[in-house]
């Protein structure tokens, strides 16, 4: 069967194509349109997926949308009614926003792709998350926990799933419904701390390490536990359910103090900056506590050793580490794209395995489903600018790049197919030596232009990971897609200063040789030169831009920032000395 999955209209639009139960292609729209977090109907992604599968739309057996638009509309309308009359400002905007396009998904898909309406299917949002987490994981039976801002109504679900021979099942047992949402809680603090919602949540997590959880009691006032082990938000502290303009209320400000003006930089040496860091630490602690207690109860209920975690909240690597240590689960599986982009794949998988009842297939355990690096393009681009470019066999290229890194050069690394999901896992990465604070500062200053409190991540070969990082049992799996934050062993922190966060942790990626063989070889070669087979690995993009896709995008990014060397496939390009000096 040929099934196309689509996510769109809120954030991270994406498309994914399954043929006979296995993925052929999956890509986020932003990587093709070059508009960060592009939520538009992903026509470019769909066209690329169909091209990659050599399919015409009429050859598709089904097109699956990742949520149920009418049910979502039901929630939007009901929330407006419940907030009456305070919702009078947001109501017209919400109606115009929804009635304009988002409600007519079946018609849009049918008309844009030319497929019959009967072929268009809908998978519930959290079922899409659950399928993306479970059906991509190498596990037979697992408990499921999904948490995000909101889907249709659900904001958190728990359940269990299994792959019995001939019958795959995903049973979500219980849900917590909007407006009671951990995702919205975290997003509210993200907005309060002056960061962009759906974008700045990483910053809250990074900032939390600089603070102490001194405001936990205050946070527990706004999110309270219920008798059945769930939680509820005290809506008096929030405005997100009544207006799209602001997510926290005046009462919230009374409790936590004035919000940060997004235009003011955070000065962590000032009392105000420390207050914001403490605030971040407090909400992070409460989020972790709730997740851990929920997962503990789920572990007791299911008795299963494995947990599949989905939804945007699963991107919180610090919480994932605590879940692994404290929930009782032996292994935790977080897919490379646990957010809405991954739902395109999840919805397609759900339709294939559950709706159509097709037999289970072993899912390839990697995130590389996007467009591949084109051969030759980089050389011709470099020739236009008379930059030195060389085509080298790996036996020469890898040692050469390892030497570049050992000599302190920053390398843009493009290899094979693009990753699905928000993290660069070795195919579209900026690599650098991980040893000094100066390197971290240089990356921040010349390339990423990020706040100084945000850490960079390391990548390490599987067999070397334990030497440098304190990994609990199951930690290696969680770190496969950079989904966990783990302590750097104290004796290595000084030598890994560029990737060690202020609290001594790192969001490590543990690399198996077959996932990205060339990067693996580079790590090993770099290890021979430097004594430490670890590299700093950050996504290949500049601030405000999506991760690069094609060679030309990588090349022009390389030209615009402080990257010294660019490698795309077998081609290595360097800047001229005078350019670097400039």
């Amino acid at each position: 069967m040929k099934i196309l999955g689509i996510s769109a209209h809120y954030h991270d639009a994406a498309a994914a194509l399954l043929v006979d139960g296995l993925p052929v292609a999956a890509v986020q729209e932003e990587r093709l349109s070059r508009r960060k977090n592009d939520a538009a109907f992903p026509m470019a992604a769909i066209e690329w997926c169909l091209d990659e599968g050599n399919l015409d739309p009429d050859e598709l057996d089904a097109v699956v949308f990742y949520e149920r638009p009418m049910l979502k509309f039901d929630r939007i309308l009901t929330c407006a009614l419940r907030a009456f009359p305070h919702s009078w400002r947001s109501f017209p905007q919400a109606m115009k926003n929804t009635l304009g396009e988002k409600l007519w998904v079946r018609g849009i898909i049918s008309s844009q792709l030319g497929v019959p309406r009967r072929k268009v299917l809908f998978c519930e949002h959290h079922h899409s998350h659950a399928a993306a987490a479970f059906l991509t994981a190498p596990v037979r039976d697992a408990a499921i926990l999904t948490a995000d801002g909101v889907g249709e109504w659900a904001a958190m679900t728990v359940g269990r799933a299994s792959r019995a021979p001939g019958k795959t099942s995903i049973n979500l047992l219980r849900e917590i419904r909007f407006p009671h949402s951990l995702g919205m809680l975290y997003s509210t603090f993200t907005a309060y701390l002056g960061f962009t919602v759906n974008e700045g949540e990483y910053k809250v997590m990074g900032l939390a390490s600089y603070g102490r959880p001194t405001m936990v009691d205050a946070v527990r006032k706004v999110v309270q536990r219920t008798a059945d082990g769930a939680f509820q938000l005290d809506l008096a502290y929030f405005d997100f359910h009544t207006t799209a303009k602001r997510s926290f209320s005046a009462k919230f400000i009374d409790l936590f103090g004035p919000p940060r003006d997004p235009l003011d930089p955070i000065d962590l040496t000032s009392p105000e900056g420390q207050r914001f860091a403490d605030c971040a630490a407090s909400v992070q602690r409460v989020l972790e506590d709730i997740l851990v207690e929920t997962a503990k109860a789920l572990h007791l209920e299911t008795g299963l050793p494995d947990l599949c975690l989905g939804g945007g909240v699963a991107l919180n690597g610090v919480a994932n580490h605590r879940l692994l240590q404290e929930s009782g689960f032996e292994r935790i599986f977080v897919p490379p794209a646990p957010g809405d982009a991954g739902c395109a794949l999840g919805a397609a998988l759900y339709a294939d395995r559950i709706h159509f009842g097709n037999p289970d297939r072993n899912f390839p355990d990697h995130p590389f489903w996007g467009p591949a690096v084109e051969a030759g393009t980089l050389t011709s681009l470099a020739q236009e600018d008379r930059l030195p470019a060389e085509e080298l066999h790996d036996s020469l290229l890898i040692p050469r790049v390892a030497l570049d890194l050992a000599e302190g050069r920053i390398v843009g690394w493009m290899d094979g197919a693009l990753e699905l999901g928000p993290r660069a896992l070795g195919h579209r990465s900026i690599l650098a030596a991980p040893h000094t604070v100066q390197m971290r500062d240089r990356l921040n200053r010349d390339i990423k232009h990020r706040e100084e409190f945000r850490p960079f991540a390391p990548v390490v070969p599987l067999e070397d990971a334990d030497r440098y990082f304190e990994l609990p049992p199951g930690g290696k799996r969680l770190a496969k897609f950079m989904s966990g934050v783990f302590p750097v062993r104290p004796e290595w922190r000084e030598k890994l200063a560029a990737i060690t966060h202020v609290d001594g942790t790192a969001r490590v990626q543990i690399l198996e040789p077959d996932m990205a063989p060339r990067l693996y070889a580079l790590l090993k070669t770099y290890g021979l030169l430097s004594g430490i087979p670890i590299l700093l690995n950050t996504s290949f993009n500049l601030a405000g831009e999506p991760i690069v896709n094609r060679s030309v995008e990588g090349y022009l990014t390389f030209r615009r920032c402080g990257i010294d060397v660019l490698v795309a496939g077998q081609t290595r390009v360097t800047k001229r000395m005078q350019e670097k000096a400039a």
Binding site: S33, L173, A230
Partner: protein
């Protein structure tokens, strides 16, 4: 009169700072558009020029951001953000939509030429209006210098890539800008009309439903809710 209006707009340091930040965003967006144009063009000369232009836009963004930060740091107390009046004093491409991927090289050059020309006019006015604030005025002066280069190179390149039709393309771009302005105005009016209609409906039609919804909400127990096992099975339903 126009100058007086701008003097008034730029007089408030908080508003001035916020406008500079919004200009910085526009410039940064413009820079990204130009990088996209450089990615898409097959013409090496244009690629190089677009990259130079993009670097200028990034530098402008940095200039605006730095001056905005200086003004914010110098303000005496925290006030609520004032009205920015961006329609009255637009930034470089603040009121123009640019869809790089749908434009030909010639069409894009024409668009850039016209918007740089318009921006140069605006920025010259701001230089005049900001005479009482030399550091901010200096920022606009620096940006203005680059705008002249941008205007010139876009026109020269347009003539190069479309030696016979550049006049027509420029007129098409002018008409396109006019059409887009008309569409923006009309969709703005339609948006206001829609909002008024929906607000009237909200207060007239919704109260009884709101009463029922609130009552239902009160009856809802907090916490976990069981999910019916057949709920997900019907994938043809949008509900």
């Amino acid at each position: 009169m126009f100058l007086l209006l701008h003097r008034w707009i730029w007089r408030d340091p908080e508003r001035c700072a916020r406008k500079l930040f919004s200009f910085a965003e526009t410039e940064a967006d413009g820079g990204r558009d130009l990088v996209r144009a450089a990615e898409l063009t097959q013409d090496p000369t244009l690629r190089r020029l677009f990259m130079v232009h993009a670097a200028d836009e990034d530098r402008h963004a940095q200039l605006f951001r730095t001056r905005g930060s200086q003004l914010l740091r110098a303000r005496p107390g925290r006030a609520s953000p004032p009205l920015e009046l961006n329609w009255v004093s637009p930034g470089e491409r603040g009121l123009d939509d640019l869809h790089v991927h749908t434009e030909t090289d010639a069409g894009l050059l024409a668009f850039l030429h016209l918007s740089e020309k318009a921006a140069a006019g605006h920025f010259a006015t701001y230089v005049q209006a900001l005479k009482g604030d030399p550091p901010t005025s200096q920022v606009f002066k620096e940006v203005l210098k680059d705008e002249t280069f941008h205007m010139n190179y876009t026109l020269a390149q347009l003539i190069r890539v479309a030696p016979n039709g550049h006049g027509v393309i420029l007129w098409q771009a002018r008409l396109g800008r006019l059409w887009k302005a008309y569409l923006r105005l009309m969709s703005g009016i339609a948006g206001i009309m829609g909002a008024v209609m929906l607000t009237i409906q909200y207060f007239i039609l919704l109260p009884p439903f709101a009463f029922l919804a609130k009552r239902a909400a009160r009856r809802e127990a907090p916490g976990w809710r069981q999910i019916p096992q057949d709920r997900a099975s019907n994938m043809t339903s949008q509900f």
